[in-house]
């Protein structure tokens, strides 16, 4: 199945891409999406302890399941205000 991955701020700079589509096995979770990205872009690994994630623009957990067509976002620590 395919999911759209969204990356922001320094995660986007590190990968050079803010949006990419990735193929995943059935019954994947957010964690699986992340692990695939880290294999492609090892520089992302350092962000894992401070990361947030979202599925279809709702905050999610690494264990949250993903489905065909979902938008999965990875968010470095926020700095609004």
């Amino acid at each position: 199945m395919h999911v759209t991955v969204r990356l922001f701020a320094r995660l986007r700079d590190l990968t050079g891409q803010g949006e990419l589509v990735r193929d995943l096995p059935q019954e994947a979770t957010v964690a699986g999406v992340w692990q695939g990205l880290v294999r492609e872009f090892p520089g992302l690994a350092a962000y894992e302890p401070s990361l947030s994630c979202a599925v279809n623009a709702e905050y999610a957990k690494f264990r949250t399941p993903v489905a065909e067509g979902d938008e999965v976002a990875f968010l470095p620590p926020v700095s609004g205000g």
């Binding site: 401070s50 947030s52 623009a57 905050y59 976002a73 968010l75 620590p77 926020v78 700095s79 609004g80």
Partner: protein, 155 residues
Amino acid sequence: MRTAITGSPLDVADLTKLIEAAGHGAVVAFVGLVRDHNQGRHVTHLVYEAYEPLAVKALDRIVSEAQAEWPGVQLALHHRIGRLDVGEASVAIAAASPHRADAFVAARYAIERVKQIVPIWKHEYFDGGDSWIEGATADPDNAEARERALRVACT
């Protein structure tokens, strides 16, 4: 709209109009401005980026949290994105309530929560370079962070 992520300049007077009511005795407004220095660096400008659909939901969540905590309070909450020069407003909050105590604490709580849970990132451009600012790991369910925001708001 009481909550918004916008590329346009913020006007706190417009926000205040959204929440006015005849029973209100107090309005507290907070505006965050781009400073000309940060951590000893001379800042030239900032660029804010947001995950917009989630950021709007996070602003709505902050309004709901505040109204649950202080039932008489009305709140409006806008955050700007894109390029901001020194002196421009990045965030504007207006809180209205029958009595002043609630308006003060709700406005303060709201800005603390913006910094905790709204997916917005600040890219700072300073003399000699630029850098992403990274603050809090966003987790709206983190009860400890929410307690901290309430404590700072002096409830």
